[in-house]
């Protein structure tokens, strides 16, 4: 795969242009857009449950990312919306139509496949034309629509090339052009960036977001990379083992993971598991105290918890204060632990410090800006005290 794009991003024509063509484009391509709604959608393969009755609302015109590790059910969800797989039970709604029994072509959706699935024996132009031809659009009408799509995606000069003669990024744009040419109301993208290398992925990510804003169309994208979901989505749906663990805006998911799985999957969270020892009213929320053997006590805020149950809390790697361990350290105080520095890793702006709590062997991660680290460096093998405030400690109910 070559990663040498022929045209620089400024020539892609994705930015809303001040001329009149920008607004007509938007009208002709996305005449209308629809939201997507899943109600108790279940999918079984034989006796294996791939989706255990999920509910999801994707508002019209929003960018939704289905995020999770492989095998979590995100691709099955997308394929059920597209109509390439049938839900075992439940309802799939696009707008106010129930589409369970409709073929993929009749659902007003279009899909961008993981490896693009561009037809190798057809030119770029013929690939983009294919959907219109199959839908019986006559030849006179097809030509301007294909030309327009190629123009919007900056592919006009590659029209007569075969897909194999294009770079990965260009192939990706052909796949987008082919899907958008049918004027879908919902665009479904299956890991659209996974076949691209790192630098191109970041650039293309920006183009996808611009394209979605320009068309005002509902995009639903499957991804396993949190940074991709964070930068693209209005709404992130975190999935695990066939169910939805959390739905929220990127900031919500990042700042307030709802479960141990989400906290772990987002990375850079230190998670402590223990018993709930007290629950006290604290304004609208509850002040919850968790005690973990050998680690101490943790205070955090949450909605509800029962004393005596197992629960967890997490603290983000960059929300802690680290000081050399002194004789003033009082292990009975909440939200602090003593740990030993294992290794220090310089990664640029950020320095990552790996630590271990010697009493239990639990590993911890501390991230600090390299600038901050330089003013107060610590040595490997040094014993330190990690502290954080109750506001930064997040309660995880499951």
């Amino acid at each position: 795969m070559s990663n040498t794009p022929v045209s620089p991003p400024t020539q892609l024509g994705l930015a809303p242009s001040p001329s009149a063509s920008g607004s007509t484009t938007r009208q002709t391509i996305a005449a209308s857009t629809q939201g997507v709604m899943l109600r108790s959608v279940m999918k079984k393969y034989g006796s294996t449950v791939a989706l255990e009755g999920i509910n999801l609302d994707v508002p019209a015109g929003s960018y939704c990312c289905l995020l999770g590790p492989s095998g979590c059910g995100k691709t099955s969800t997308l394929r059920i919306i597209a109509g390439h797989e049938e839900a075992t039970s439940g309802d799939v709604m696009i707008g106010d139509r129930r589409v369970n029994d409709l073929s993929p072509a009749k659902r007003s959706t279009a899909m961008v496949f993981q490896n693009y699935a561009l037809f190798p024996h057809k030119t770029v132009w013929q690939n983009v034309e294919f959907g219109l031809k199959m839908r019986g659009v006559n030849e006179r009408e097809r030509k301007p629509r294909v030309d327009e799509m190629l123009d919007i995606l900056g592919l006009s000069k590659f029209a007569s090339r075969k897909p194999s003669m294009l770079s990965g990024g260009q192939q990706q744009r052909v796949a987008l052009a082919r899907a958008l040419a049918t004027r879908p109301q919902v665009l479904l993208l299956d890991e659209p960036l996974s076949a691209l290398d790192e630098s191109l992925r970041v650039k293309t990510r920006g183009e996808l977001r611009k394209l979605q804003r320009q068309f005002g169309m509902t995009f639903i994208q499957v991804t396993h990379a949190q940074d991709e979901a964070f930068s693209l989505a209005d709404q992130i749906v975190v999935m695990d083992h066939g169910h939805i663990d959390q739905i929220g805006m990127p900031q919500e998911i990042f700042n307030a993971p709802a479960s141990r799985f989400v906290a772990r999957f987002m990375g850079d969270n230190n998670i402590f598991v223990g018993q709930v020892t007290s629950v006290a009213a604290d304004g609208d929320a509850r002040l919850i105290q968790i005690e973990a053997d050998g680690l101490g006590t943790f205070l955090c805020r949450g909605q509800a918890a029962d004393v005596g149950t197992t629960a967890a809390c997490c603290i983000r790697a960059d929300r802690m204060q680290v000081t050399p361990l002194s004789s003033a350290f009082d292990p009975t105080q909440p939200n602090q632990v003593a740990a030993r520095v294992v290794s220090v890793e310089f990664t640029g702006y950020v320095t990552r410090v790996s630590l271990v709590i010697e009493a239990t062997g639990q590993e911890m991660l501390y991230k600090v800006s390299t600038h901050g680290w330089m003013t107060q460096p610590l040595n490997e093998q040094q014993l330190v005290c990690l502290q954080w405030s109750t506001d930064d400690c997040i309660f995880l109910s499951h």
């Binding site: 597209a82 390439h84 073929s103 993929p104 072509a105 959706t109 279009a110 899909m111 496949f113 993981q114 490896n115 699935a117 561009l118 037809f119 190798p120 024996h121 294919f130 959907g131 199959m134 839908r135 090339r161 075969k162 194999s164 003669m165 082919r178 899907a179 049918t182």
Partner: protein, 274 residues
């Protein structure tokens, strides 16, 4: 060359001689027949060649009564070859499409089909002959022999198509359906063009297997012979280089069929790749 050539190991020369002998063994007999067919009227069945000429090749076309019913046998074999080819391509393609999904009894059908390749050809011929006898139907080149040829070509073609569809990316079809193509349109516009080169290979294979098939045809061709049977019959009663002329003409024909197939293959492969 600027860099001095590395000295070749002894094994290179040994293997080169071996390969040379192999090629000689492969094509030598054919060239012997080719040379012996280009003789004048005084030519004989063995070397040395007495005079050069096209007398015996011409005799094939103008003096049929002397060398048996060559023309009619050739026509029969040609027609039979094309029928076998057509049936093989269509059935193998459909079987290949069907076997993309596992279905109940699929492995049983698979082994049942393949086992026809293992059974000795003569037994298959004998079996078909007996079966026709039993139901009281005359064996004939277009019925019993056609069936006999298909027991040979279909399993081969089926195996080839399994390999082709094994490597076929299912997402092309899914993309076609996503874009509004019906099952048939997806087949017509996407699957068929992509597997066309393989289908030409299957067609060529089916034709050549049928065209030179001897054993399976030997007991069931009925009253009128196919070309290989006719040639075999001639070896016992034709005593002139006309026999060699026949070999030359049919070989030239076979090579032209292969050339046509390669041209077609090139055409489709070029359309597929840039």
């Amino acid at each position: 060359m600027i860099a001095p050539m590395r000295k070749r190991p002894l094994s290179f020369y040994f293997l080169a001689v071996f390969f040379g002998l192999f090629v000689l063994f492969l094509y030598g007999p054919m060239f012997a027949i080719f040379i012996l067919s280009l003789q004048g009227p005084d030519g004989a069945l063995t070397f040395p060649v007495r005079s050069f000429g096209f007398h015996w090749i011409a005799s094939l076309f103008f003096q049929q009564q002397r060398i048996g019913d060559f023309g009619a046998a050739f026509q029969r074999s040609l027609l039979l070859g094309f029928i076998v080819m057509a049936v093989t391509v269509v059935v193998a393609l459909m079987a290949g499409l069907a076997f993309r999904q596992k279905f109940k009894g699929s492995s049983f059908i698979f082994y049942l089909t393949i086992s026809s390749l293992i059974v000795p050809s003569v037994l298959i011929s004998l079996g078909i002959g007996i079966a026709f006898n039993l139901i009281g139907v005359q064996t004939n080149w277009y019925s019993s022999a056609l069936g006999g040829h298909l027991t040979w070509t279909l399993p081969f073609a089926f195996l080839i198509m399994l390999g082709v569809f094994n490597r076929f990316n299912l997402s092309y079809e899914e993309a076609a359906r996503d874009l509004g193509a019906s099952e048939f349109q997806a087949f017509q516009h996407i699957i068929l063009p992509l597997i066309a080169p393989a289908l030409i290979g299957v067609a060529l294979f089916g034709f050549t297997l049928s065209y030179d098939e001897f054993t399976r045809t030997s007991l069931i061709s009925g009253a009128r012979n196919t070309l290989p049977l006719e040639i075999f019959g001639m070896t016992t009663n034709v005593t002139s280089p006309a026999l060699y002329a026949l070999g030359t003409v049919t070989t030239v024909f076979s090579f032209s069929i292969i050339a046509i197939a390669f041209l077609a293959y090139g055409f489709f492969a070029k359309r597929q790749q840039p």
